[in-house]
């Protein structure tokens, strides 16, 4: 089942179009990366899903149902701009936010206890938010996002403001939530996060969706049959009807690295076979595009071919 289906959603403001017929499908129990440069329309889309604003056309289905007011109770949202009531105590604050999401007072109290223990911050209950450090406040905010055990969790730049230790802790909790059956939408610029955590991605640019699919499939789509070989001795020549030597660099004494592009239909194994005869191979790997590469070249407005070219050259 699909956790979220966005169908031809558009949003227009007086001066510009924020979303132009965007369609996205997010499978259940996955981590979905919603990518795009600033101003691409990610926040607008997230706000529409959260019913903070309405779309001008199109429709949104949450677990197969048309978006309706009580869906807010199964959605957890961590906005990019974090915010809590500064003068309120941590415990009161979490209780209030959980109750607004439809939890009963009793359930909320029990769950807050569990989560404060999970983060080892039980003694923060009576602290005011203004007395917490930024990272500490972020933890409280993260808890407030997941307290009502939402089936759909939307995290906008969840790691900003966290040190590596806490980022690791949050990652762990996110994977736990996924294992427990939640679907998670990430909106982020941090490509390493996308590489390591996301199952699916969609890329928005200039109010339009320009790419969507499972991460592996997306990467495969941008494979360019380019290989990186480290070898000793550079006195060899590959048959030019099969290969093209893109780049060669000296690593150290007589140790070289070569970027080799194979022509259509020629597999990696074939290249290894051909190389073994003419040089001493140290290492061999296919050069796969990173998410960052894909992101940058697509957003720069170049086509698929240009991207492939770009990838061969780096």
């Amino acid at each position: 089942m699909e956790a979220l289906i966005v169908k031809d959603v558009s949003k227009y403001y007086a001066e510009h179009t924020a979303l132009d017929k965007v369609s996205i499908t997010i499978p259940e129990k996955t981590i979905f990366g919603l990518l795009g440069p600033n101003g691409a329309g990610k926040t607008t889309l997230i706000r529409i899903i959260n019913q903070i604003i309405n779309s001008d056309s199109g429709e949104v289905l949450v677990f197969g149902e048309k978006l309706r007011p009580n869906h807010v109770e199964i959605i957890g949202y961590l906005p990019e701009e974090r915010g809590l009531y500064k003068k309120m105590k941590v415990g009161d604050q979490l209780l209030y936010l959980a109750q607004l999401k439809g939890l009963s007072r009793k359930d909320a109290l029990a769950r807050i206890k569990v989560w404060l223990e999970k983060f080892e911050i039980k003694d923060w209950w009576h602290k005011k938010v203004e007395d917490l450090s930024k990272g500490m406040a972020q933890k409280v905010q993260f808890i407030s996002t997941v307290l009502h055990e939402p089936k759909l969790i939307i995290l906008d730049e969840p790691f900003s403001g966290f040190d590596p230790v806490n980022a690791e802790l949050i990652t762990e909790k996110i994977l736990e939530l996924k294992a427990n059956g939640s679907t998670i939408i990430f909106s982020t610029h941090r490509m390493e996060t996308v590489e390591s955590l996301c199952d699916h991605i969609a890329l928005l640019n200039k109010s339009k969706k320009i790419l969507e699919g499972p991460k592996k499939q997306v990467k495969d789509q941008f494979r360019s049959n380019t290989f990186l070989v480290e070898h000793r001795g550079n006195h060899f020549s590959l048959p030019s009807e099969k290969y093209e030597l893109k780049k060669q660099a000296v690593i150290e004494d007589n140790l070289f690295s070569s970027t080799i592009q194979a022509k259509e239909g020629i597999k990696g194994n074939q290249l290894i076979r051909d190389l073994i005869d003419i040089t001493e191979v140290y290492s061999f790997q296919e050069k796969l595009p990173s998410m960052a590469d894909i992101f940058i070249s697509l957003v720069k407005g170049e086509g698929d071919d240009a991207l492939k070219k770009h990838l061969q050259e780096v």
Partner: protein, 445 residues
């Protein structure tokens, strides 16, 4: 609806738990009795400490006869029988208050009377001395014209107009414009201050939520309109609570203070003394005069429909607060700081200010004039104007019309404000002017 209730609770509790709320709630009621008590205390101290001043009298006229028999509470007169030069010398050797020199003079045109003092005397004391001299001269004139004091007393008549409102049904109601004026004045100002103070609290709350960015989290759980409504109602509850506590504390403390000093009230003291001194029949009658005034005053107080006024006051307080509160919320949503809000605050407070000035210039002077009528009918000015006017007996149809319009008015402003608010709270970093506000207002849902 459940969520609005949660918001109301939060808005109410966070404010009521603040130290500043506690201080304001306790201190303000203390101020009134403290001022009353302080004033009475000072007056009593002054009365006690005021020893009579000694005035040496050098009387060459031989008719004024200021001697110890003419001593008052403030002055002791010591006649001297020397030359003026000698008298001045004698006076300078003492610490007495003054030396009064009365030459021979024409009683129809007294001239040349002089007072010598060592320090600059207060105008009040000089005035007192002058009036004593004037009384003496008047007595002399009475003797000259052969009028005795008794005749003079009979000439004096005190007239007090008793005010009666004749209603259409022919019913007679006595009234007292002094009390009504004071009541209208106090109630009108109270509404003005309350609406402004609590309206600004709403605005501050909205700005805080916007700048701390918590608003995005909240509106992902509730509709912006619910948040706005919850905030407005929650703060109204704070206002009503504070007002109720004030009312109870002020009335309790004031009556306590008056009760404490009551037995020693200066007028009463003076009256008792007079009653002891003078056994004269007509003086006793005169004594009864103020009592009848007081009785009348109390009677008038009894005829003022306090329950009705209290109801109208609460209604207009809430109505005016809701009407302006929504607008203050809209302003708060559009700006990012109190300073920035100034430009939008002015047009909101202007009609309130018009009501405030209208209260002094028209309503209290001419409560049933056409300007007063319109001010108390138009929803933007009616909270201040009608409350100021209500003590003067407003026709029922006018009151009902004004109330209906006020209800309509706050529904309208809440609707307008809600449309601006829903867009404004999520907008940061935009330069906002009236055209932008209009655009937000017109923006589709």
């Amino acid at each position: 609806m459940n969520k609005v209730w949660l918001i109301i609770q939060r808005e109410f509790l966070t404010r009521v738990r603040k130290k500043s709320f506690l201080i304001a709630t306790v201190v303000v009621p203390l101020i009134f009795p403290a001022i009353i008590g302080g004033l009475i205390y000072i007056m009593m101290k002054e009365a006690e400490s005021a020893k009579p001043d000694t005035v040496m009298v050098m009387d060459e006229s031989g008719v004024i006869n200021l001697d110890s028999s003419k001593n008052t509470k403030r002055f002791i007169f010591v006649p001297l029988q020397t030359s003026l030069e000698q008298a001045k010398k004698t006076y300078n050797e003492t610490k007495d208050f003054a030396l009064l020199y009365i030459p021979k003079f024409n009683i129809s045109k007294p001239e040349g009377l002089m007072i010598y003092t060592q320090e600059n005397p207060s105008i009040e004391k000089i005035g007192d001395l002058e009036s004593i001299l004037q009384d003496r001269v008047r007595d002399l004139k009475l003797q000259e014209f052969k009028i005795d004091k008794e005749t003079l007393k009979n000439l004096k008549t005190s007239i007090n107009l008793k005010q009666i409102n004749l209603t259409k049904t022919g019913e007679e109601k006595s009234s007292n414009s002094g009390i009504l004026y004071g009541l209208g004045f106090a109630l009108g100002i109270m509404i003005y201050v309350f609406v402004l103070v609590y309206g600004i609290q709403i605005m501050q709350g909205v700005i805080d939520e916007k700048t701390s960015k918590v608003v995005e989290v909240i509106v992902s759980s509730v509709k912006p309109f619910q948040l706005m409504l919850g905030k407005i109602v929650g703060i109204a509850a704070v206002g009503v609570t504070q007002f109720a506590i004030w009312l109870i504390l002020i009335s309790f403390l004031s009556s306590g203070v008056l009760g404490y000093f009551g037995l020693k009230m200066p007028q009463k003291q003076a009256m008792e003394q007079m009653a002891k001194k003078v056994q004269d029949e007509d003086v006793k009658q005169a004594m009864n005069q103020p009592n009848s005034h007081i009785k009348e005053l109390l009677g008038n107080l009894g005829e003022i429909p306090f329950a009705k006024i209290a109801f109208v006051f609460v209604f207009y307080f809430l109505g005016g607060y809701l009407l302006y509160g929504a607008l203050f919320a809209a302003v708060g949503s559009a700006v990012e700081s109190i300073q920035e809000s100034q430009q939008f605050q002015f047009p909101i407070t202007l009609p309130l200010l018009i009501g405030y000035f209208g209260l002094f210039m028209f309503i209290l002077r001419d409560p049933h004039g056409s300007v007063s009528f319109w001010l108390s009918i138009i929803p933007f000015t009616s909270p201040v104007a009608m409350v100021g006017r209500i003590a003067f007996d407003v026709p029922t149809w006018q009151l009902l019309l004004s109330m209906a319009l006020l209800i309509g008015g706050f529904i309208l402003t809440t609707w307008i404000a809600g449309r601006i608010y829903r867009v404004g709270i999520l907008m940061t970093g935009t330069k906002v002017n009236y055209r932008v506000l209009a655009k937000w207002f017109l923006m589709r849902e």
